[in-house]
Amino acid sequence: MYYDALRQGLAAPICLTWELTYACNLLCVHCLSSSGKRAPDELDTTEAKRLLDEWAAMKVFYINVGGGEPMTRPDFFELMEYSIEQGIGVKFSTNGTLLDRRAARWIASTDYLDVQISVDGASPGVNDPIRGEGSFSRARTAMELLAAEGFPFKVNHVVTRRSFQGLDELHAMVTGMGGQLRVTRLRPSGRGKAVWEALKLTQAQNRELYDWLRAHPDVLTGDSFFHLSALGQPLDGLNMCGAGRIVCCVDPRGDVYACPFVLAPEFKAGNVRDSSFGEVWQGSPLFERLRGWEVGGQCRSCGAYDRCHGGCMAVKHFTGVDLDDPDPECVRKPEAGSTATLLPLALKPRAISPRAPAASRTVGSGPQP
């Protein structure tokens, strides 16, 4: 019933991702923002706070903070606390490598703060070829530290052809520690483009995943799998692409994009150094266009249109599919590409850098409870 209201855009985004930095101590093969190195012109602390002030005035209720690895920013704790003081709740995504006991205590004792740890397999054997050697055990340690504080953390899992078999195991591990699992779709964004064909789920896995998600309502999915709702009863969560309508992303330089999965010039609406965020959100021609657009083409005559609305714009864009065509993983059309589950694939994530990462210093010097 609220499809039209959402499609036409809100006064402020309800799914606002703020990528704090492009710096990361890992180099995951599917990183949506191709992160690794800090950009020289990232927003400084003053600019970042000004942005938070504006979001508070616009009544942005909460933000999703990511990167890069947001905890590498020396002002990470300062900015998160500032956000919460302004009435903006925070959920931040981290690879967990810099989350030590003090950080776990800070998280557990701060209201309106959520943390989501990225894990891309139920074991090091599956996770580490994607996220880097040693990354599974570091993420697991972070989970244990949070569990020891009794904090109900979230684990974000980008499900791939290789990790699919381990879903039950990962689910059991996370819930066993008092956490909650979130499953995200692999999209061909950033470095994900190079591995998408080989790592995306097969259609058989997509069908199985749909049943699995229906059977596990405790598992969060955001807007990842509404294209699977075309298989039957709709899945919980948003059933439309909210890019530029209710979703947007501010990158470390202050560039505003329609969605964190479309960091491409075609989907850049403006920059918060050139105009206010509100002006970009309310008046950018790109966002206006997205708000007036609905997927057309064959999808309009599809019986599942009400549940799927043509799928994910980012996946279409980065696979060269016309935005008015069905999602490349549309479950109502024949499968394209290889379906082999074990493709010889050279994955080259980097191991956790042995050099002391910036934020292990930050944790010591940041505001602590």
Partner: protein, 88 residues
Amino acid sequence: MKLSDRVRLDDAVALRPERFGALAYSYRDRQLFFVDHALLPFVESAGGHTLGEIAGDLEAAGKVTKEALPRLLTVLEGLRRRGVLHVL
């Protein structure tokens, strides 16, 4: 919910005006709720008037019909059950 009830918004809920009415966000359980134009005067009443009085004013102003009232009360009851509204 009865027409003689007075309601107020939960302290942890924020309202943001939108084209269709308002969006309510509960900081307590991080849930969003849609509040349409017809519902807004009840949700914003802060216990100042009974639901019946508000409905009367809205009817007189031609903003809601008698027939729409049961639906509004059902939605308000739903918001009360979710902890967004409290009956005073």
